[in-house]
C-alpha cells in the first residue's frame, strides 16, 4: 500500500522587540546570566504583567503578511505547568481567542509551482527561561523568560519534507523581511514542532498524528520528517497502530524517540489571564500597519523579473534575503544596469560575502554601482574591473580612486594608441606580411602586443578598430 504523509507545523518566532513582552527588561541576548531580569519576569510575588505594544505591533505585521484575520478582541490565557524555567508556574499565552486566524502563505515548489499553505492561527505568548545543568546543581537563567513569541500554526497542508522545509524557509524569510525577528533556528529565535501522520494514498481521513520536537535546523526538520515517514510507514505496513505521542529528534542518532504518550500529556488548565485586559486591536491601527508592510519576497521576485528582465533563478536568489534584494536595488539605482548589477552580485559579491551580510560589506552598493558605471563608460575593462573589485574588498576605497591611484584608466585616445600600434607593426614586419597574405589568426597577436605594451589598459575595442585601419593601410 502507498501512503501519503500529512503535516502541520507549529512555528515559534521570537520577536525582536526592545523590551520583553510583559516587563521593561531588555531583550539583548549577549547579556550575562540573569542580567536582564526583574520582579515580573522572575515571577516574584505580587508582580504583574503589562503588555508591550511593540510586540502586538510586530505580531500584527506577521498576521497581515500571512493573510490572517486579526481578531478585534483576543484574550491572553494562562497555561499552567510546573518547570523550573517557568518562573510563575504558568506561561501567559493565548488559547481559545488568539490574535489572528485563517491565513495562508505561498511557498515555492521545486517544480517552479507555487503552493498555498493555510494557517490555522497566530497567537502571542512569552518565552520561558533556560535550565543550565551543572555537575551538582542545576541553574536557571531567566534572561530569555518573557521574550515575546508568536506561534504560527499551519493547517495540515504539507505533504513532504521538502514542502515542510520550504514552508519553514518562507516563514523565516517573512520574519526577516518584516524585520520582526532574527529567525535563526540554530540560535532558537525560530523553533518548529511538526505534527505528522500517514494515510493511504487517496484516503480522506487523517491518520493518528505524532508530534516531533527538538529540531534546531532546517536539515534536522527535514531529516526528522523523512525518518518519521519511514518509521510510520513500516509500522503501518506491519499492521501496527501509530500511537499518539510526542517524539524528540535525536540528531546524533538520526532518529526520533518517544518522549510522552497522549495519556501522559499535560492538562494545562488554561483559563483567561485575569491580570491582563482582553487585547483590542482597532481597525484603524491595522490599516496603518498594513500601509507599513514591506514588499515581501515573492512579490519582489515577480517585480524583479518583470521590471529588470531577470531570470527566475537569479531573482529568486536575490530575494532570499531582504538585505540582499535591497542591496541589489541600491546598485541598480546607482548604475541603471540591472542585468550587470545582478551578474556582479551573484557571481562576484556572493563569492566573497554571505548573502545575509552584504549590507556589512566594505563594498557598498555605491562602490559596486560606480564600478559598473566605469565599465559601461569604457573607463576600465571588465578584466581590470575584477582587480578593482578585489582592491575595494580590502580597502573599501571607491573604484574611481583605485583606478586613478593605480593608473588603471583604460587608454581609448587615438593619439595615445596610434604610436603604440605603429611600433608593434614596425617591430613585426613578417607577421604583418603573413596577416596581409590572409592569415587572419595573426590579428590576435597584434592585439596582445598592444595590450602588453599598455599593461592591459588599452581599450580592446579601440585597439581592434585602429589595428584594422593600420593593417589595411599598409
Amino acid at each position: 500500500m502507498n501512503f501519503e504523509a500529512v503535516m502541520g507545523l507549529e512555528v515559534h518566532v521570537q520577536l525582536k522587540t526592545k523590551s520583553k513582552i510583559f516587563c521593561r527588561c531588555s531583550t539583548h541576548f549577549d547579556a550575562r546570566e540573569n542580567e536582564n531580569i526583574c520582579p515580573v519576569c522572575t515571577g516574584m510575588p505580587g508582580s504583574l504583567p503589562v503588555l508591550n505594544e511593540e510586540a502586538v505591533h510586530m505580531a500584527c505585521k506577521m498576521a497581515l503578511a500571512t493573510n490572517c484575520k486579526v481578531q478585534s478582541v483576543s484574550v491572553f490565557a494562562r497555561k499552567n505547568y510546573f518547570y523550573p524555567d517557568l518562573p510563575k508556574g504558568y506561561q501567559i499565552s493565548q488559547y481559545d481567542q488568539p490574535l489572528a486566524i485563517d491565513g495562508w502563505v505561498e511557498i515555492p515548489l521545486s517544480n517552479k509551482e507555487i503552493k498555498k499553505i493555510r494557517l490555522e492561527r497566530i497567537h502571542m505568548e512569552e518565552d520561558a527561561g533556560k535550565n543550565v545543568h551543572g555537575s551538582h546543581f542545576s541553574y536557571v537563567n531567566f534572561n530569555r523568560a518573557g521574550i515575546p513569541l508568536i506561534e504560527v500554526v499551519s493547517k495540515p497542508d504539507l505533504r513532504s519534507s521538502e514542502e515542510a522545509g520550504n514552508y519553514l524557509r518562507s516563514i523565516q524569510r517573512m520574519v526577516r523581511y518584516l524585520e520582526i525577528g532574527d529567525g535563526n533556528m540554530e540560535e532558537g529565535s525560530l523553533r518548529c514542532d511538526v505534527n505528522i501522520s500517514l494515510r493511504p494514498t487517496g484516503a480522506e481521513k487523517l491518520g493518528t498524528k505524532v508530534e516531533i520536537k527538538n529540531m534546531n535546523s532546517f536539515r534536522f526538520v527535514e531529516n526528522a520528517i523523512e525518518y518519521e515517514i519511514e518509521r510510520q510507514k513500516e509500522a503501518l505496513q506491519n499492521g501496527q497502530k501509530i500511537i499518539q505521542e510526542t517524539r524528540l529528534w535525536d540528531s546524533n542518532q538520526n532518529k526520533t524517540f518517544s518522549m510522552r504518550s497522549k495519556e501522559e500529556a499535560h492538562d494545562y488548565r488554561y483559563f483567561p489571564e485575569p491580570d491582563l485586559m482582553p487585547l483590542e486591536v482597532a481597525p484603524k491601527a491595522l490599516e496603518i500597519i498594513k500601509t507599513q508592510l514591506p514588499e515581501l519576497a515573492l512579490e519582489k521576485q515577480k517585480r524583479f523579473m518583470r521590471d529588470y528582465q531577470l531570470s527566475q533563478a537569479d531573482s529568486g536568489t536575490l530575494v532570499q534575503e531582504k538585505s540582499l534584494a535591497d542591496y541589489f536595488e541600491a546598485v541598480v539605482k546607482e548604475c541603471q544596469a540591472p542585468r550587470l548589477a545582478s551578474n556582479w552580485i551573484l557571481s562576484e559579491l556572493l563569492r566573497e560575502v554571505e548573502a545575509s551580510s552584504v549590507s556589512k560589506s566594505k563594498i557598498t552598493p555605491k562602490h559596486l554601482g560606480q564600478l559598473i558605471l566605469l565599465i559601461q563608460k569604457g573607463t576600465i575593462s571588465g578584466k581590470i574591473a575584477k582587480t578593482v573589485f578585489e582592491k575595494m574588498l580590502q580597502s573599501g576605497d571607491l573604484p574611481q580612486k583605485i583606478v586613478e591611484t593605480e593608473g588603471w584608466v583604460q587608454i581609448s585616445d587615438d593619439a595615445e594608441l596610434e604610436p603604440i600600434i605603429e611600433a608593434v607593426v614596425k617591430e613585426n614586419p613578417n607577421l604583418v606580411k603573413a596577416y596581409q597574405a590572409g592569415d587572419a589568426k595573426k590579428f590576435g597577436f597584434f592585439v596582445g602586443q598592444v595590450m602588453k605594451k599598455t599593461q592591459g589598459q588599452a581599450n580592446p575595442q579601440k585597439v581592434n578598430e585602429l589595428l584594422k585601419k593600420k593593417l589595411g593601410d599598409v
Binding site: 520582579p39 522572575t42 515571577g43 516574584m44 510575588p45 505580587g46 508582580s47 504583574l48 504583567p49 503589562v50 503588555l51 494562562r78 499552567n80 510546573f82 523550573p84 518562573p87 510563575k88 508556574g89 504558568y90 536557571v140 492538562d267 488548565r269 488554561y270 483559563f271 485575569p274 491580570d275 491582563l276 485586559m277
Partner: protein, 485 residues
C-alpha cells in the same frame, strides 16, 4: 486620652500645628503595640527602629517647613501581603517565612511618598484565605473586644490593630470580604474600593480578578484620606483604571437629603442573627431621619454569589500560588529529584486551607470541568454585575448587614470549612461584581460584640459611600467606643 487613640485627621492637625511630634505619636503607638501584641498577635513583624527613624525624619522635614501630606508622620500598619523592600513579607505562610522583597508594592511606595510611618506588617490568614484569621502560620489574631474570639479574616491583624490603637490606620486586601468582615467584627471602618481603583502591583495575589486593596480607619474621614493617598492608575498594573481620584473630603456632608438608599430583600433572610438585624434596622431608620429615602430593591442572583466565589477564587489561586515551588525564593524542602522537591516544598510550606483551595481550584480548571465550573462561574458574575447595575438605576447606595453574626469564637468553625465559607455571604457579591463596599460600626450585641453596616456603591463612586457613611457616623456614637484592653 493617649496619643494612639487619636484619629488620623486629629493627629494630622496636631502634627501640623506642632502641638505633637511624629516621634511622640509613634512612641505612643509603639508602646501600645508592646503592651498588647502578646494578647492580640496582630503583627507578624514590628518595624520599631525603622518607624522611629522615619518619624524623626518627618519631624525634621516639618521643622524645615517642607510641604507635607496630611498623612505625613502618621503611624500606619500594612497587612503582610504588601511587598516592602528590605522588610520581611510572609503572607502569613511558612513558604515565605524568610522572604525579603527586592521591591515595594505600589501602595507601599505611594505611602512612603506621603511620608507615613510604617510600624509593622500585620497578621492575616495565610495567602488571605480565611474568614477568621486562624489560618496564619504565625498563629491566630484575637479580637480586641473579646480575646477568645476572632477579629474576622483575612485582614484580621489590620482590623484588630486599628481597633486597639496599635496604629492609626492600616491597609488590607479584600477578595471576598477580607477587609469588610474584620472591620465589622472589630468595630472599625473598612473599605473595599472598586476593582481597579488601587494598584495590585506588589500585593501578593490570591485571586487576581477579585483582589482589591483597601484602607482601615477609625472614622470614615480617615478611611477616605487613606484611600486618596494610594488610589489611581499605575503603569505597573494593567487592571488599574485611568480615572481621576476625587478629593473625597468635599463629599462628607452631614445630611442625606435626596439620597436614595436601596435595601435588598435577599440580604435579610433566615441566616441573619436577630440582634444584628435589629441594629441594621435601627441604622436604616437613623439614615432615614438624616433625609435619605429607603427603597426596597432586589438582587435576584445573590444566592449564587458564594458558590460562584469559591469557584473563581480557588481556580485563580491554584494558578497564582504555582510560583511558590522552592526554585527561586522562599521555603525549599530537601529532596533528591525535582518532582520530590516540588511535592515536599509545597506539601510542607502551605497550610491546610491553602492546600484545600489549590486542590479545589486545580479540579475546577481541569480539562472536561472548565465549562461546568469556571466558565459557568464567569457567566454568573455577569448576572451579578447586572443585578447591581439595575439596582443602581433606582438607588444611589445599597445598605446591607456586613456579617450574619457578630464575632465567633476561635476554633468554632475552623473544622467545618463550609460553615466558615458562609461567613462571607454578604460580602462576596461586591468582589464578583467589582463594586466598592464600605463597612462601618452600627452597634453592639448583648455581649458587647461589634455589629457593622455595609454600604455598596456604583463603580468608582466611593465618594457616595463616604458621604452616607460619614453622615451616619456624625449622627451616632458607635465609632467612639473602644475595646477594654
Amino acid at each position: 486620652m493617649e496619643l494612639y487613640d487619636l484619629t488620623i485627621s486629629e493627629a494630622s492637625q496636631k502634627l501640623q500645628s506642632k502641638e505633637i511630634s511624629s516621634e511622640e505619636l509613634t512612641q505612643s503607638v509603639l508602646k501600645r503595640i508592646e503592651a498588647t501584641q502578646k494578647q492580640l498577635n496582630s503583627f507578624i513583624t514590628i518595624t520599631k527602629e525603622a518607624a522611629l527613624l522615619q518619624a524623626k525624619k518627618v519631624d525634621e522635614k516639618r521643622k524645615r517647613g517642607d510641604a507635607l501630606s496630611a498623612l505625613a508622620g502618621i503611624p500606619i500598619g500594612l497587612k503582610d501581603i504588601f511587598l516592602t523592600q528590605g522588610i520581611r513579607t510572609t503572607c502569613a505562610s511558612k513558604i515565605l517565612e524568610g522572604f525579603i522583597p527586592a521591591y515595594d508594592s505600589t501602595v507601599t511606595a505611594r505611602l512612603k511618598k506621603n511620608d507615613v510611618v510604617l510600624v509593622g506588617k500585620l497578621n492575616m490568614d495565610e495567602f488571605a484565605m480565611g474568614s477568621s484569621n486562624e489560618n496564619s502560620f504565625f498563629g491566630p489574631v484575637k479580637n480586641p473586644w473579646d480575646l477568645e474570639r476572632t477579629p474576622g479574616g483575612s485582614s484580621g491583624g489590620s482590623a484588630a490593630a486599628v481597633a486597639s490603637g496599635q496604629c492609626l490606620g492600616a491597609f488590607g486586601t479584600d477578595t471576598g470580604g477580607s477587609i469588610r468582615l474584620p472591620a465589622s467584627l472589630s468595630s472599625v471602618v473598612g473599605l473595599k474600593p472598586t476593582y481597579g481603583r488601587v494598584s495590585r502591583y506588589g500585593v501578593i495575589a490570591f485571586a487576581s480578578s477579585l483582589d482589591q486593596v483597601g484602607p482601615f480607619g477609625k472614622t470614615v474621614l480617615d478611611t477616605a484620606l487613606l484611600l486618596k493617598s494610594v488610589a489611581g492608575e499605575d503603569a505597573y498594573d494593567a487592571t488599574s483604571v485611568r480615572k481621576p481620584v476625587p478629593n473625597y473630603e468635599q463629599f462628607l456632608k452631614k445630611d442625606l437629603k435626596g439620597v436614595k438608599l436601596g435595601i435588598p430583600k435577599e440580604y435579610f433572610s433566615k441566616g441573619l442573627n436577630s440582634q444584628v438585624e435589629a441594629s441594621v434596622q435601627k441604622a436604616l431608620s437613623d439614615l432615614k431621619s438624616l433625609g435619605a429615602s429607603l427603597i426596597e430593591i432586589s438582587l435576584p442572583h445573590t444566592a449564587y454569589a458564594i458558590p460562584t466565589y469559591y469557584l473563581v477564587c480557588t481556580a485563580e489561586a491554584s494558578s497564582n500560588l504555582a510560583r511558590y515551588d522552592g526554585v527561586k525564593y522562599g521555603y525549599r524542602a530537601e529532596a533528591t529529584s525535582l518532582a520530590e522537591m516540588y511535592a515536599k516544598t509545597r506539601g510542607q510550606g502551605f497550610g491546610a486551607e491553602v492546600k484545600r483551595r489549590i486542590m479545589l481550584g486545580t479540579f475546577v480548571l481541569s480539562s472536561g470541568y472548565y465549562d461546568a465550573y469556571y466558565k459557568k462561574a464567569s457567566q454568573v458574575r455577569t448576572l451579578l454585575k447586572k443585578d447591581f447595575e439595575d439596582a443602581f438605576l433606582k438607588c444611589d447606595v445599597i445598605v446591607t448587614p456586613s456579617s450574619p453574626t457578630t464575632a465567633f469564637k476561635i476554633g468554632e468553625k475552623i473544622e467545618d470549612p463550609l460553615t466558615m465559607y458562609l461567613t462571607d455571604v454578604f460580602t462576596t457579591s461586591a468582589n464578583l461584581a467589582g463594586i466598592p463596599g464600605l463597612v462601618l460600626p452600627c452597634g453592639f450585641d448583648d455581649q458587647n460584640l461589634p455589629i457593622g453596616l455595609q454600604l455598596l456603591g456604583p463603580y468608582f463612586q466611593e465618594e457616595k459611600l463616604f458621604h452616607v457613611g460619614h453622615a451616619y457616623e456624625q449622627a451616632t456614637e458607635w465609632h467612639k467606643r473602644k475595646p477594654k484592653l
